[in-house]
């Protein structure tokens, strides 16, 4: 295998159909089809709707990626695909397609971990990963703190949400403020006109007694309920709801907890690099607050550009390239899609 393998990555774990192509750490193509509009009226991703959309999108998205990169399937060294975690039916479409491509073009296949791919994608923007590093992955589906010692060998989970994912909290709060779906971008915009200190919303799992057992875990369900109560009390009293202040106060509470715990994890493990990924990494306040706080501790923050933070095929290709270059054995053609795939395996063992 070459040092700079040409690897194709397929991602279908949620509502984005992604096909990315990389050569080593260089991104050649990142084609994406999203079914997000089809989920809007349901207020969240509907698994069956997402699965149907993946099947329709996979062939044209693959074609766009190949055209964009100017390569053919015969040229690639390996095919990587998200094997989990994610929505079972959605994952299965990508895995089945990847097997079809691998079988027809006679290429090795790597079934990879979606969360590890969120970490690996940063290499496309900022070069090789300094290890060890702490990664914080925050999206509508995940809120995890991970210790990355060696991305090819496995990743150690430090903590995760015990209820809602961070992005889910954004969606739910946006909905109760009547702002639509998805909630992240609209809350970010609205919050810019608000005062983040005007309303004090709770910071989940930060009390001393919680820190004993949940030092690196998150909880956003109580925050969401606190926002709902506050808004409802306002409405009942007949006063207007200061939407911008609510959005800013909520966003501040989320970003405060996320950055405090991520940097605490860096300190605890003597790590100098924090990588942030997932859709919520696109939040402008999260980026600013993380940079500010990390700078004081001499910790470097790496955040890929927003298109690479949300789910995409490039991240899967990036992880695949990393595995191929490290000489990791490919998976077998009977590799399963695993909706609850554990982080202890970065790729399905061959």
């Amino acid at each position: 295998m070459p040092d700079e393998p040409l690897v194709l990555g397929i991602e279908t774990s949620c509502d984005e159909t992604g096909v990315g192509i990389v050569r080593g750490h260089t991104l050649l193509a990142d084609a994406l089809a999203s079914s997000v509009d089809q989920h809007a009226r349901f207020g969240g991703v509907v698994p069956e709707v997402a699965s149907r959309a993946h099947l329709e999108a996979i062939v044209p998205t693959m074609q766009r990626a190949l055209d964009e990169a100017g390569v053919t399937l015969a040229d690639v060294d390996a095919i990587a695909v998200t094997a989990g975690p994610g929505l079972a039916g959605a994952l299965l479409v990508g895995v089945a397609a990847a097997k079809g491509y691998a079988l027809a073009a006679d290429k090795p296949i790597y079934g990879v971990n979606h969360l590890a791919a969120h970490v690996a994608v940063d290499t496309l923007e900022h070069g090789p990963l300094p290890e060890p590093a702490v990664a914080m992955l925050v999206s509508g589906g995940h809120s995890s703190l991970l210790l990355v010692d060696d991305l090819t060998a496995g990743v150690t989970p430090l903590g995760a949400t015990i209820d809602d994912a961070a992005g889910e909290a954004f969606d739910k709060v946006a909905r109760l403020l009547g702002m639509g779906f998805p909630g992240g971008p609209v809350i970010d915009r609205t919050a810019r006109d608000g005062d983040p200190g005007a309303i004090a919303f709770p910071r989940g799992l930060t009390a001393p007694k919680d820190l004993l057992r949940h030092r690196f875990d998150f909880s956003f369900s109580g925050l969401k309920t606190a926002v709902a109560r506050w808004v409802e009390a306002r409405e009942r009293s007949g006063e207007p709801v200061p939407v911008a202040d609510v959005a800013a106060g909520f966003q501040e509470a989320v970003c405060d907890v996320l950055t405090a715990k991520a940097l605490d994890a860096c300190r605890e493990h003597g790590v100098e690099t924090l990588i942030i990924g997932g859709g919520v990494a696109a939040n402008s306040r999260l980026r600013v607050l993380a940079e500010e706080r990390a700078a004081k501790l001499g910790i470097r923050v790496r955040v890929p550009r927003p298109q690479l933070c949300t789910d995409n095929g490039a991240m899967v290709a990036a992880l695949g390239s990393h595995l191929v270059a490290a000489g990791v054995a490919p998976s077998r053609l009977d590799l399963p899609a695993d909706s609850a795939m554990s982080l202890t395996s970065v790729a399905v063992a061959g």
Partner: protein
């Protein structure tokens, strides 16, 4: 002569078959079937590999693919269609879709035949065939609501609800036949007809309810 691969995952059976389509006919080169409703994603690709290897055929030698488009349980059905579509794209060959019930109906032979497969939720997917040719549109219903206008019934759905249909059950034909799928697409294959994107016969809408008004959190 065209080497043709057929796949079907619309029932608990995972089927892969290989045949040679010539101007005048069709010659089966191998067919494998594994019945396991929960492992279509794991079983299909290795099974295709074995059918090809047994016949000494490399994927690059294939000239067309035929896939059963259902109706069938969605998750498994999509495994077959995603595999067929991606293989067709990778090889630059057409992938034709054929109703999976048709591949049972054709294999069932002459007479007036009801084909029924298990649609889960105590329902069946079904259609009626006359001498192997479909005469009613594929549909989904509770077994008791199926209007039976046939001399016998075939398919694993017919066996499962045998007492409901009131006609003799022929349990020799339970699942779609790969060779029948290829036979049904043979004219298109010979004519090198353009293939439309593979579209599953879902027959049911996704279970999803539109977001409702939020519930109050204050007492």
């Amino acid at each position: 002569m065209v080497l043709v691969l057929a796949l079907d995952t619309a029932t608990p059976a995972v089927t892969a078959a290989l045949a040679e389509v010539t101007d005048g006919g069709l010659k089966g080169l191998g067919e494998r079937r594994t019945v396991d409703p929960r492992a279509h994603g794991e079983l299909l690709a290795p099974q295709i590999g074995r059918v090809l290897a047994d016949a000494g055929v490399r994927p690059a030698e294939l000239g067309a693919i035929v896939a059963g488009t259902g109706p069938g349980p969605f998750t498994g059905l999509r495994v077959g269609l995603a595999t067929a579509a991606s293989m067709g794209q990778a090889l630059g060959i057409p992938a034709y879709g054929i109703c999976s019930l048709d591949a049972i109906g054709r294999a069932a032979g002459p007479g007036r035949v009801l084909v029924a497969t298990d649609a889960r939720r105590r329902e069946v997917y079904f259609a009626t065939y006359l001498d192997g040719v479909r005469v009613t549109a594929p549909d989904v219903a509770k077994p008791a609501d199926v209007r039976v206008d046939a001399d016998r019934a075939v398919g694993e759905g017919a066996v499962k609800y045998s007492e409901v249909f009131g006609v003799p059950i022929d349990d020799r034909v339970l699942y779609p036949s790969g060779e029948a799928l290829i036979a049904l697409a043979a004219d298109d294959i010979r004519a090198k007809a353009a293939a439309a994107p593979l579209t599953p016969l879902y027959l049911r809408r996704p279970d999803a309810v539109a977001a409702t008004e939020r519930k109050p959190v204050l007492p």
